[in-house]
Every structure is written in C-alpha cells, then in structure tokens.
C-alpha cells in the first residue's frame, strides 16, 4: 500500500510498514522510523529516527493540520479515485438514452451554459427526466422542439466547449 500526500504544494509518496511499535515510512529512497504517541486535545509526541518533537494535530474533513518544531504543515491525503470522479464528459452532441418525446426545451441556441444546467425535459416510459449540460460551453444546434419524438441515440442538442 502506498499513499500520496499533498504537503503544502509538494506531492509526497509514502509507503508505510510496521515494525514492533514503530512505523517505518519509505519516502522516496529513504526510510524514516516514526513513533506516534497520542496526547489529549490534538497534542502528541512524534519521534522521528529517535528524535522526539512535541506536536499538535487537527483534522478538518480530509485535511490534516500539523504543528511541529515551530513549523505549520497542511497535509491532504490524495484519493486516487477522486481524480476519476472529477472528469466530466466534455463537449459535443448529447444523444437520447432511449426513445421518447420532448416535453420542454429550456435553452436557445447560443446560450452560455455551465456544467449541470438544464437543457431539455424529456419523457419516456411515463418518466420525465432532465437533459443537462455535461460541461461549460455554448449551446450549439438544438435538433428537437417541444413535442418532437426521438429514437434512441438521436442527437438532441449540441454543446460547444468554450475552451
């Protein structure tokens, strides 16, 4: 198991393994021996390669704040899954997920939209759903109008990226 932390602006990869009461952290080529004693109210003692430091730790969501030897650090654990979740679908044509009918067109060609804005309301199989912009951009051609029927994979509306 290897973790990536963001400390300040720097990305640090750390591979921990435990040995008796100590934690051995492999940071790059170096091994660092750590003993961590929890105190009260965020106070703790960190022993790094035999040298002890009085430290304070506080957590705020996914961020950890550490005060040690007169220095402050903000440490964020990087979740490798988070990068994937942030990726959006991008610009281009939005096509119909299934056959249906257009209930309402909520934008006009040339409108500026941001990701998540509503473009159309469609109805299929008794269920109304909203077609939303997958990215920030400008509304290009709208291929449908109120009441028009469409088939699966028909292009409904196009979004041009504003990049």
């Amino acid at each position: 198991m290897r973790y990536t932390f963001k400390i300040g602006e720097e990305l640090v990869k750390v591979a921990p393994r435990s040995l008796a009461d100590e934690l051995i952290l492999a940071i790059g080529e170096q091994d660092c021996r750590v003993v961590f004693d929890h105190g009260r109210e965020g106070r703790c003692t960190l022993t790094l390669d035999g040298r002890s430091y009085e430290s304070w730790v506080a957590r705020d969501g996914d961020d950890i704040y550490l005060k040690m030897a007169g220095h402050y650090f903000k440490v964020t654990a990087i979740d490798p899954r988070a990068a994937a979740a942030g990726a959006s679908a991008g610009a281009g044509a939005i096509s119909a997920p299934m056959p249906g009918v257009v209930v309402e067109v909520l934008v006009a060609e040339g409108d500026i939209v941001v990701e998540g804005d509503k473009l159309l309301t469609i109805e299929s199989m008794k269920l109304q759903s909203t077609v939303r912009a997958a990215c920030d951009g400008v509304v290009g051609r709208i291929h449908v109008s109120e009441g028009s029927e469409f088939n699966k994979d028909d292009v409904l509306v196009e979004i041009e990226s504003d990049d």
Partner: protein, 535 residues
Amino acid sequence: MRRIQSRVNVNSPEYQENLKANEVRLGEFHRRQNAARHERPQRDLDRLERQGKMLPRERLEMLLDPGTPFLELSTLAAGEHYDGDSPSASCITGIGIVCGREVLIHANDSTVKGGAWYPMTIKKIVRAMDIAIENHLPVIHLCDSAGGFLPLQSELFGDKYFAGRIFRNQAILSKMGCKQLSLVFGHCTAGGAYVPALSDYSVIVRGTGAVFLGGPPLVKAATGEEVTVEELGGADMHTSVSGTCDYPADTEEEAIAIGREIVAQWSKKKKWDAQQQAPEAPYYDPKELYGIIPANIKTQFDMMEVIARVVDGSRFHEYQPAYGKTLICGFAHIWGYKVGIIGNNGILFNDSSKKAAHFIQLCNQNKTPLVFLQNITGYMVGREYEREGITKDGAKMIMVQAGSEVPKFTIMTNGSYGAGNYGMCGRAFDSRFLFSWPNSEISVMGGEQAAKTLATIKTTQLEREGKTLSDEERAKIYSDVTDDYEHQSSAYYTSSLIWDDGIIDPADTRNALGMAIATAMNAPIEDPRYGVLRV
C-alpha cells in the same frame, strides 16, 4: 469507502418546490398517523376507564424497555376501509425490546368495537406472525378482543390466510422454538381463546380477563346452562383448576410485571454473525430528502442522493458504475450492518436487469442483506429491446431475486408500476420488511394510461347501449376514473390493504431499516440456490 458527492442545491427552485410539496404530504401523514393511534370516540375511552383497563398503548409503554425504539408496523392498515371504523385495523403490531430481547408484539385494541377482529385485523396479525416466523422472533400477545367481527365473517373465516392462520402460525412458531407469552387483559372468546392456550406462558387479570370457547350467552343458548364469566373462564378457574392459563394477576400492571419477569427467563439467542462495523451518521442530512423527492411523481430524481441520506457516513462502494446506469448497485453500511443496495435511476433495460441479477448473486454468496429502493416505471418496451431479450433479462432478475436467500428489505420511494414492482422485490417477493413513503404509488400501469384505457372502455360501452355522450360527460367519466385510480394507487390505500408494513417518514428510513436488519439477523442466512436461468 468513498463518500457520495451530493449535487443537491438546497437553494434551487426545484428543491424549494419539492420541499413545499413534501411538507404538505408529511403534515397529512402525521395527521393520519396520530388519528389512527390516538383519536377514539369519548364513549369508548370512558368504557375502558369504567372497566379499569389501560389503553393499549399504555400497556405497551409499560411492557417495553424504557428508552428503546419500537418499530410499529402498518399503523395505517384499514385506514381507507370500513369507513374508517377500524383505525390501525384495531390492533397494534411491531417489534420492540423487552428485557433486552427483540420481541414481536401483537396487541388488540379494545377501544375499537371491543377489539373485534375485522378482516384487515386478521391480515395484520397474520403478517406480524409471519414476520416472527421469518425472523425467528418470540411473540408477546396482549389479548383483549371480542372475537371476529360477525357482520364481515365471510371475509375473515375459513380461507387459508384468514383467522385460522393466526393459530396455525402460533403452532409453527412453537415448533420452531420461538417462545410466546399471552397477557390476557380482556375476553378471549372462541378462536381468540386459542391465543393464550397456544402460548407457552400466559398471565390473566382477575375480574377483566377471561378465556372460553363460548361466552355465557352462547353456553345458555347451546345447553341451557347458566354460568358467570368468572366461573366459565375467569383468572382463578383457569390458573387453579383447568391449567389453561399460568399466572393470575390482580391488576394489569401486575400482569405486565409478571410478563416481563417471564421474558427475562428466556434464553438469549445468538444472532447471525453479520458483517458489521461501528455505525456512523449520514454525512448529508436525511431531512434533505424532502427537497429531493419530487413534487410531481413523474419527475425523475437521482437515487444516489437518497442513498447518501440513508447509509452510514453517506459512504458507498458502487458496483459497475459505468454499466446499466439506470440501476444503481453497490455496498454500504446501515447502522453498522453491511448491505447491498439496489436502487432505480430510470427504466430497467437489458444491461441494468443483468447487472441486478449478477449483483444479487454476489450478495447471496457474500451473505449480504439486500435493500431495494424502488422508483420504477417498468422494463423498457419496444422492438429493439424485445429483440435484445428484455423479457428474458427481466426474467433473470426476477428468478435470482426470488431465489435469493439473504434477507431483503424494500422501500417504495416514489412510483412502482407493472413488472418493475416484481423485479425490484415488491410485496409478492418476500421482503422481510417493506415500507412506503407517503408520496409513493403502486399500480399495474401508470395512472394516466390506465385512466385513459378505463375511460375509453366505459364510454364505448355507454355508446353501445345507445347513449350519446356530450364532451362534458366524457370529461366527467375521465376525471372520475382518474380520481378513483389515483386514490387506489396511493400509499394510503395500498397501506390500508397491508401491501406494505407501513408508511414511514422518508427521514426515518435509515432507522426503520436499521431495526429491520437487526431483527432479520435473528434468523440464519442459508446458502444460495436458484432456479433455471434463461441465459
């Protein structure tokens, strides 16, 4: 497990519109619930006081461990039937804690027609005892009933799931080793007499409690014998002469105290060793569900937002996040219990049906209980989908889901129409518990389509009889049919028929599921086995 990233904007006009609609719905729900629980004609309350009897809910409060939750079932049963004459179907059922043991409670409500059993009363009691059988629970009966409601006897006596089933279920429970205690506060006449007689333990109150096959008037009519209630089936006769009951008590309070002491003697059964961790409150406020559940039942909403407000820490491990996306599958924890969740995010297609079947198999192999969040208008129709085998893919989902051995729990969150109801573990598919939200609807097809079809049939019929219909008459037929159909699809109507185990406040979903899962862990989980799949 990663936290779900909610996209709900509490300041958006949709959220506010939904909130407004759901506040009205909740107000109505709480009004109905309160009326079913507490509102009774004064003369009935006076009669109980004269008899020195406690109200059924007072008895319950004395019996249950202080500060413990009570999962009440089907509070609004019979609410839309018998002109409202049988609130809560004249009885209270639910799961509570007595002396640290999970027990099923069945309490007659003698504030309503002397606790007489309406057909729905029997359906509710039979369902409660089925719950005891499925989950291996002991049962405490709080007896105070005049017996079957005679004017409706043809609807409650003689069929497989009618009154006889109560006693059959008692015998089955005993055979399974599930203990039963009866506290006899009032009369147990005819069939009702078997409730204490089939229990392992019974306590009977002097003066008000009585157990007999036929009461004094019936005995006089049958044999001419004149006999008093006390001589025929009173506490002292039964506890010192016949041995039909076990403990006499001078007051209801004493009877309850003896009852609690009896329960304290029962061995505590070891529960199923479920995968568990320390519970964590959801990160997103469950009350935000009021702004997510749509004002209009036809509007689509993201089931992921619901999951985020039900599961521990709003954390969810999604299975196949990119495949069959109209169905969400994944693992989470509810009150610390590991569960598999299956929630609708649109229509069921070929891929989503196959994904469901696969995920249900994974959960069965892992012995992970399943939670179904229903909002389903059905399986996709049309040439392309039939050619792809939508019917046989739906059949796979139903086959595996029905053959599932893990405990299943179903929540009706919005719409539930047609075959989608089956695939998503509707009432016929043996969920251990099924709860409905007040906004939810169930029907064989969507309201509008059904109303159109029915109205067309009706107008055609009238025209065939030679009547000419004006446009207004046509419109009236259509609106009458729609109103009827909507009423009969509503959660209040289906809950009145006991198609569920009760309507719950959406914000209570997590708590209801937590208790339901804890209850289900009283029974072991068998190894999976399925029927033949059309692959």
